[in-house]
């Protein structure tokens, strides 16, 4: 019984649509796995980033002394990201510019893809949890690398019976990071779907532009910033003074 199919939003069961749709199903280890709208949007975003990267690289290979046009944009983006990482990670920043920059660009483009009529992939818990898990692995890797045995004894600080609480504190990091990103983007998606689904036609002219600016552009940019910022803060925290 597909309880997800039940009409739970009485007013508009058909018009209000913000769920993830299954597109193609295939068998994988005895289960049916689906290619969903999230995957398609993710591939579109990845293609956008890759095409931009290739074009930008070609441009930078033949860089001019006085930058013009696209070269300006690329230099500005790279310098901004470098400044962003260096200002919050200090001398450790150099190594993490690539990771944090990639994370920031991907989340930013995902969040604002709602502007172009896509369903943001970050409004799917699978995506945000994967991103948070990558960050979690990096945090714990740095913990082991720089604190060595202290990574384990640190869990028993300041006194041994706080071990369960410290452990929960470590594990809660990816959960809270992913839920924060997911919740924000999902809230925006639900609000836009409700607005488009429930109101009469004349209310949909012009006014949604302001809602898009808030929910997609502003909120999306803030959340991309917060996610990469938290990644850097946690990694720097583990590296410590070492």
């Amino acid at each position: 019984m597909g309880y997800g199919m039940m009409p739970m939003l009485l007013a508009a069961d058909k018009e209000v649509d913000f769920s993830i749709h299954h597109l193609i199903g295939y068998q994988f280890m005895g289960q049916t796995v689906y290619i969903t709208t999230s995957h398609v949007c993710m591939i579109l975003i990845m293609a956008t980033i890759m095409i931009f990267a290739v074009v930008a690289r070609r441009k930078i290979m033949h860089a001019e002394e006085v930058p013009t046009g696209l070269q300006n944009v690329v230099e500005f983006a790279v310098e901004t990201l470098e400044g962003f990482v260096n200002s919050s990670m200090g001398k450790n920043g150099r190594k993490y510019i690539c990771y944090v920059g990639t994370l920031f660009l991907y989340i930013l483009l995902s969040n604002i893809s709602g502007l172009f009529g896509l369903r943001p992939p970050t409004a799917d818990y699978g995506t945000t949890f994967s991103l948070a898990l990558i960050t979690f692995v990096m945090i714990q890797y740095n913990n082991l690398k720089y604190n060595k045995i202290g990574a384990f004894t640190g869990l028993f600080q300041p006194i041994w019976f706080l071990f369960p609480i410290n452990l929960i504190g470590e594990i809660a990091t990816p959960v809270s990071m992913s839920l924060r990103l997911f919740g924000n983007v999902m809230a925006g998606t639900v609000m836009m779907a409700l607005y488009y689904g429930l109101l009469p036609l004349f209310a949909k002219i012009g006014i949604p532009a302001f809602l898009h600016v808030y929910f997609d552009l502003f909120s999306g940019a803030i959340q991309a910033y917060v996610f990469s910022m938290l990644t850097m803060v946690f990694i720097t925290d583990k590296i410590g003074e070492a």
């Binding site: 939003l9 924000n184 803030i222 917060v226 910022m229």
Partner: protein, 91 residues
């Protein structure tokens, strides 16, 4: 009262529960407001440090927001995932 089905009762209670879960939005609202107010006061005292104050404030607000988002996730689950109904139908 006798013509309420079990499914209907579960759906109604889930929806009320979703509404109650969103009371969690009060806390982050107050917290973010305090953070923004203190940020504005800090910029007023020291306009030169606007960039640092801004990033610190945004980070704090994002962390303060988490509890409200947990409420939102619970509400969304109750409305659209509905674990209670699934449990009932599988019995």
């Amino acid at each position: 009262m006798s013509n309420i089905t079990n499914e209907g009762l579960i759906l109604a209670c889930s929806t009320i529960g979703a509404g109650l879960a969103m009371i969690a939005g009060i806390g982050p609202g107050i917290g973010q407001g305090i953070a923004a107010g203190q940020g504005a006061a800090a910029v007023g005292r020291n306009p030169g440090a606007k960039g640092d104050i801004m990033s610190t404030m945004l980070l704090g607000q994002a962390v303060a927001e988490t509890t409200g988002l947990y409420g939102l996730v619970v509400a969304l689950l109750l409305m659209y995932g509905n674990p209670m109904l699934a449990k009932f139908l599988k019995l």
